[in-house]
Amino acid sequence: MQRKPPDNPSGFSRREFLRGVGATSVAASGLLVAGMPDEAAAAPGDPVGPGETKITLSINGENKSVSVEPRTTLLDALRNRLDITGAKKVCDRGTCGACTVIKDGRAIYSCTALAIDVQGSKITTVEGLGTPDELSPVQAAFVHNDAQQCGFCTPGFVVACTAMLKAHPTPTAEQVRLGLGGNLCRCGTYAGIKEAIVEAGKTASISRGTGGGGAT
């Protein structure tokens, strides 16, 4: 996977963290992936961590200052530090999609992204798509088509659907499978979600503030 260096308003990045802790301990902690040690070795900067450090995240169009440890995930930063709780923690292992947010136009699992790694990215959570009084077309379609029961998976599905429909306004069954196959529901709301996709796909403007770009 090719990692694009983030825009870096706070002057802090994942590579600097990696350099700070050293490639050896990165390998030992299981974080090592192809290409990283070189990147880390090449990057200038001061060591950061293991304690908390202040970073700035762009969430739903607002810059938020937040203290996190380098090991804090984006999901935990949102939920535990910023009280933005729409994204849910369910599997915490990148399987269920309940924590889905949009990062620079792409749907990602926020439980598998480190908070320090998304500085400079535009993050949109379900709260950034609409409010109860002013629902986005996808959110409204979820309500009309009863695409929710307990509702715990719903924010993740709403965000994943929004990203998918942005890329494929009238998705094929295969595009739906790929776009939403990474989200799980236990109550069994898939029938309603399929209807909601069709309804929302008909609406020209999918959402506001998704940070541009499209899902692939």
Binding site: N80, K88, V143, L184
Partner: protein
Amino acid sequence: MTSILWPAKEQLKLIGKRIDRVDGPAKSSGAAKYSLDINRPGLLYGKILGASIAAGTLKSLDTKAAEALAGVRAVHVMTEPGRPINWAGQEIVALAADTEEIATEALRLIKAEYERSPPQMDDADPQKVEGKPRTRTEGNPAEGFAQAAASVSGRYGVATITHCCLEPHGQVSEFRDGELHVWPSTQAVSGYANQLVKPAGLESNKIHIDCQYMGGGFGSKFGPDAWGAVCVELAKKAGKAVKLLLDRDLELMIAGNRPSAFADIKVGADKEGRVTAWESKVWGSSGVGNYGAPPLPYVFAFPNQNTESQGIRTNRGAVKAWRAPGHPQGCAITMAALEDLAAKLGMDPLEFFLKNLQFAPEALRETYREELMVAADLIDYKSKAHPRGDKTKGPIKRGLGISLHTWGGAGHASACDVTINPDGSVVASMGTQDLGVGTRTCLGIVVAETLGLPLEAVQVNIGKNAYPTSGGSGGSTTIGGISSSSRRAAVAALDELLKRVATELNISPDELEAADSKIRAKANPQKSMAWKDACKLLGQMAITQQGRHQGGARTELTSSGVGGVQIADVSVDVETGLVKMNEMVAVQDCGLIIDLKLAESQVLGALIMGVTYALFEEAIYDPQTGRMLNADMEFYRLATLSDVGKLRVHMMTGKGYDERGVIGLGEPPVISPGAAISNAVANAIGVRVSSIPLTPDRVIEALEKGGVRT
């Protein structure tokens, strides 16, 4: 006096219509706050260390390093050294820390040493049963089998599955001004505080429960359990609010599962296809607890039958009620054996089930007959059905499978307060909960319908034990209980208001009714008063009336006992063993429906949950270590959106159904999918896959014994 009975169908404005759930916007926008989302000032994060062995003894425990870690605020031992370990994940120590990261790190610093015994994990081997079997004989089975023109014998099974609620079990606990505030994820708001008296060290009236939204329970979330109690202990020790909801691995290991069931069945029928005798021996495991055997034979009571059940103790986490306890297992085993018998007789299964309806409960025979016809019609049974074993050339075989199920669904005890304010606003309050089934919406619909108001005019307060007591949501008892108590409360409050209006309009209260946001004369709708003007007559004092539902099988407003029929259409690849859902139809009755849209959602959801346990879900335990091998959501598989095929739901409504009153719906439609899908697979490939889930390995294993391979 306003009649307590449900209004006639043609008068209904809201009840029985397709209405959006009132909390849909809060849920789809992320504004809904679940227990996992509650953040309090200075909140600490609680976590539990589970045992790494499944059987043995905790030899020693050292928590010093964890306690010394900066940011750890409270540690509470849940299993003392010397105590037995009965399953992997059993709670050893709980702790609370400033952040989740620190709490996770602290757990790793705890040193727990065990003396390990070999765990007993096998729940399928009938040689491992313990205790005295429970037996029951009716008629003369030997004679019955002698009369049979054909009989089949086979072994059938249903594996252990978990609840896998997306919001894990647990709560947030906070002591404030000498009282305890708890935000639990629960199915039983009114009963919750009473189970926290001991850890809280407070009387119930000082414990405040608040559960506005909860992320799934399915029978596993009634009480606080050990983790709820220890969350209170940690909050007490730390003097700060503590959030403790189980991590996913523990959630899957210890927060409840559905017991397995395996059975040897022999069943015979005469040449007409009427069953003459049934013999069943069932076993399975409820972990270390007593085995709760499924009902066999299911739905039917045959003239000559002999049944036996016995349990196997295993070192697995405790079972908990799982949506329609016992029924999915009893159904899968019974309907599979019956379909095998139909195949042996060379009879069409639809015809076979119709013929044997004489052995179904009398009250449901006509319902089943109608439902079988509707379901067959919806799936185009006549043109798709074929004898067992799809003769089509090539590896893809297609088949249909039928199943029948039943459930009670009588309303639980419930109390509701309805208040009409002088400004015309209305409040309905009840200590119930909305598991996602639409309780909040249905409560609003009943009160709004009764008062002749639009749904949005009624504020619904639920989720707190401060409100009138209402039962826990289990056994499909909620809708009966809450619709009855709220109807009674709303009628009583309305009657108070009608008295005031009657004086004003100089008419008898009996001649008045509430409709279209007005109070009007029944005989002369022109003679009316707008709702708001009527309420102004109250001066400064609101009207509050309480309505109660006492429970019981049949009342003026509710009853119990439903039947449902499902037919599955599947394709099976006999080279890979993969089963693909083409279509599934569910035909279900549940008496008078309050919100048709939400009722249909319940059935659709049940079908999807059913496809999941029929094809994918299974808790897999390592026989050596006793640990659950798939305690995560990657390998504990749930169906995805693309796995479920086309789903169709038909609710039986109208004459013969509506007048029965309101009956619960949560459990019944989840009972049949395993059986219907198993029967469809057998019809497709020509051989029975003996256990569900129907995973590719099981399908291939069955095909090695017979069936159609090319």
